[in-house]
C-alpha cells in the first residue's frame, strides 16, 4: 500500500515541507538571539490563552494565538532588561504562562482537553488548516527575505544595527509577531514538538558545517526539509508516531555530524 495513496499523508508531506522552509529561517535568528527555547515556551504559554478564552467564552484557539503574541512580546521586553542573560526571559515567561494557565483553569467550567485543542498532529490536517499554513508561511517567508539583512544585523548587534539606520524596534516587533504566529499556527497544525525542535535542531546541524551566515540559513532549511520528509517516510513504514520520528531523525543526524566532525580531527571552536 503506497504512502501517497492517502490524502492525509500527501497533506502531511505538503504542510511538513512548507513548514520546513520557514521554521528554520525563524529558528536561525532565534538561536543567534539565544532564545532557543522560545517555541516550547510560547506553545506552553498559549495554554493560558486557551483558559482565558474558555472563561471569557472566546474561541480558545484565538485566545491561544493572542496569548502567544503577548508572551512573545513579554519575552522581548524582559530580554531588554536582562540583556546579558536573554534566555532567562524565556524561562520567566514560560513560568508565568503555565502558572497563569494553571490558576485560570481552576475557573474554567469546561476545560475540555487543553492539550488536544492546542496541539495538532501532522497526519490530521484539515483543508482550512493547510491553506492557512500555506498563506501564513508565504507571509513569513516574504518578510524573512525582505528583512534578511535587518534581521541578521539586529541579531548580531542591536546598537550597531540602530546606528546604521536599521529600525531595530520595528524589526524586533515584526520578528516577534512572525515568531508567535508561526509557533501558534504550526503548533495547532503539526504539533508543538515539531515546531519547537525544527527551530533549533536543523540550525544546530547547519552551524556545525556552515561557513557563512548565508550557508547557515540555507543548510538549516535543507536539513529541516530532509528531516521532515524522511521522518514522515520512516514513521509511515515503521509504524511510529510522526512527530517524534521527525524530531529523532534530526537529533540523530546532529549527533552523527558531531561525531564525524570529531573523527575528522577538526578541533572545536573555542
Amino acid at each position: 500500500m503506497s504512502i501517497f495513496e492517502f490524502e492525509f499523508m500527501r497533506r502531511a508531506f505538503i504542510v511538513g515541507f512548507i513548514l520546513a522552509l520557514i521554521v528554520p529561517c525563524i529558528g536561525t535568528i532565534i538561536v543567534l538571539k539565544r532564545l532557543s527555547m522560545i517555541g516550547d515556551a510560547l506553545s506552553h504559554a498559549s495554554l493560558a490563552g486557551v483558559a482565558a478564552g474558555l472563561i471569557l467564552s472566546i474561541n480558545p484557539v484565538l485566545g491561544a494565538a493572542f496569548a502567544c503574541i503577548l508572551a512573545a512580546f513579554g519575552i522581548e521586553a524582559i530580554r531588554k532588561k536582562i540583556p546579558k542573560f536573554s534566555e532567562m526571559s524565556i524561562a520567566i515567561i514560560m513560568s508565568a504562562g503555565i502558572g497563569l494557565a494553571g490558576v485560570l483553569s481552576g475557573f474554567v467550567k469546561n476545560t475540555a482537553n487543553f492539550n488536544s485543542f492546542l496541539f495538532g498532529s501532522i497526519v490530521a490536517i484539515s483543508d482550512f488548516e493547510m491553506y492557512f499554513v500555506a498563506g501564513i508561511s508565504l507571509l513569513v517567508l516574504l518578510s524573512f527575505i525582505v528583512l534578511y539583512r535587518e534581521l541578521c544585523y539586529t541579531a548580531f548587534d542591536e546598537l550597531s544595527a540602530r546606528l546604521s539606520g536599521v529600525p531595530v524596534k520595528t524589526v524586533n516587533s515584526i520578528f516577534t509577531v512572525l515568531t508567535a504566529v508561526t509557533v501558534s499556527v504550526a503548533a495547532r497544525t503539526v504539533g508543538a514538538l515539531i515546531v519547537s525542535s525544527m527551530m533549533v535542531v536543523p540550525v544546530a546541524c547547519s552551524m556545525q558545517i556552515g561557513k557563512s551566515y548565508r550557508q547557515t540559513v540555507l543548510y538549516s532549511v535543507m536539513f529541516a526539509v530532509i528531516f521532515t520528509l524522511s521522518g514522515l517516510f520512516i514513521s509511515y513504514y515503521a509504524g511510529l508516531k510522526p512527530g517524534g520520528t521527525i524530531v529523532l531523525t534530526g537529533v540523530l543526524c546532529l549527533l552523527l555530524i558531531i561525531i564525524i566532525k570529531k573523527a575528522a580531527g577538526r578541533t572545536v571552536r573555542q
Binding site: V108, K109, N110, A112, N113, V123, G191, L232
Partner: protein, 275 residues
C-alpha cells in the same frame, strides 16, 4: 478531635469522576453528601487534585474511585492523607478485567453489566459504613440494578441483529462494551486520550473502514475531533459522538443527563453506525 463532624450527620462521599459520581448518588440519594472531584467537562485522564479537593478528602468518610489506572493520582493522594476514618472504595474490585491483569483497560463502567457490579460495590461500601441506612441503599440498588438489566437487554436486542460489528472510536475506551455485545472496536488511539496517532495505523484504519464500509467514525466531546474527521473524510464516513462517560459537558449537566440517558444515546448512535 480536630475534625468538625458533618453537620447533618450524613455520610460524606467523594467520587473521582462522573460515572462514579452518578452511581454513588443513585445509591446514596439524599442520605449522603456527595462531591465529584473531577469537574464537569474535564478529561479525567490528566486531572490533578487541588488543595481544596484534598481538604475535602480529609473530611470525607468514603472515597469512591474506579481504579485500574483510571485515576492515577489516587495512590499518591491516598498515601498522603491522614484521614483515619476514610474508606477508599475501588469500584472495580472483584470484576474480571479484559486481559486479566490489574493494569488492564479501566473503562469498565461502559458495560452495563459490569457497571452494575461497580454499583454493587459502592452499595456494599455505603452500607458497611452507614449501617443505619443499609435498607435505603439496598432499595436503591435493587431499583437501578433492574434498570441496568433493562439497559443490557436493550443493547443486546438492538445490537445483535445489526449486520456490522466494527466501530471506529477515538480512544480505546469501549473494550468492555464491545466484549459484551459481540462488537469489535477499532481505536484510533490507546487507552489514554492524549497521544498522537501513528500514520501507518491511520492508513490501516482508513483501509479497514473503506473495506468494511463503515459509515461512522466516533469521536468524544472532550477530545479534539481532528483525527476522527481526517479519517472520516478519507473513508467517506461521517463523525458522531460516542460518549465514554468520563465527564459531562456543561450543557449535558444542565439538561439533567445521567448514565442511563447517555448510554441510550450511545446505543442509538451505535445502531445508526452499524445498520
Amino acid at each position: 478531635g480536630k475534625k468538625e463532624p458533618a453537620g447533618d450527620g450524613k455520610l460524606s462521599v467523594c467520587t473521582s469522576f462522573y460515572a462514579m459520581y452518578d452511581f454513588a448518588s443513585k445509591i446514596g440519594g439524599d442520605k449522603i453528601n456527595i462531591l465529584n472531584m473531577v469537574p464537569a467537562g474535564t478529561e479525567p485522564h490528566d486531572w490533578e487534585p487541588s488543595a481544596s479537593d484534598i481538604a475535602n478528602l480529609e473530611k470525607a468518610d468514603i472515597f469512591i474511585y474506579n481504579g485500574i489506572g483510571m485515576e492515577s493520582w489516587t495512590d499518591k493522594v491516598l498515601s498522603s492523607l491522614e484521614n483515619k476514618k476514610l474508606t477508599a472504595v475501588q469500584a472495580s474490585s472483584g470484576i474480571s478485567l479484559l486481559g486479566g491483569t490489574d493494569k488492564g483497560d479501566p473503562h469498565i463502567w461502559l458495560s452495563p453489566e459490569k457497571a452494575k457490579r461497580e454499583m454493587e460495590n459502592i452499595k456494599n461500601a455505603l452500607s458497611a459504613k452507614d449501617p443505619g441506612n443499609k435498607n435505603f441503599y439496598e432499595e436503591n440498588y435493587k431499583k437501578y440494578s433492574a434498570e441496568f438489566d433493562a439497559l443490557d437487554g436493550e443493547f443486546c436486542s438492538k445490537l445483535s441483529p445489526l449486520p456490522k460489528k466494527d466501530i471506529v472510536v477515538a480512544h480505546q475506551a469501549f473494550g468492555y462494551l464491545c466484549a459484551d455485545y459481540g462488537l469489535n472496536q477499532i481505536p484510533i488511539e490507546g487507552l489514554s486520550a492524549d497521544s498522537e496517532p501513528n500514520p501507518a495505523k491511520m492508513a490501516e484504519i482508513i483501509s479497514i473502514a473503506k473495506q468494511k464500509k463503515i459509515k461512522v467514525i466516533f469521536f468524544e466531546e472532550l477530545v479534539s475531533p481532528k483525527v476522527s474527521e481526517t479519517i472520516a473524510k478519507a473513508a467517506s464516513a461521517e463523525t458522531k459522538v460516542l460518549n465514554p462517560l468520563e465527564g459531562l459537558t456543561d450543557e449535558q449537566e444542565a439538561k439533567g443527563e445521567d448514565y442511563f440517558s447517555l448510554m441510550r444515546e450511545n446505543l442509538s448512535m451505535l445502531e445508526e453506525a452499524l445498520s
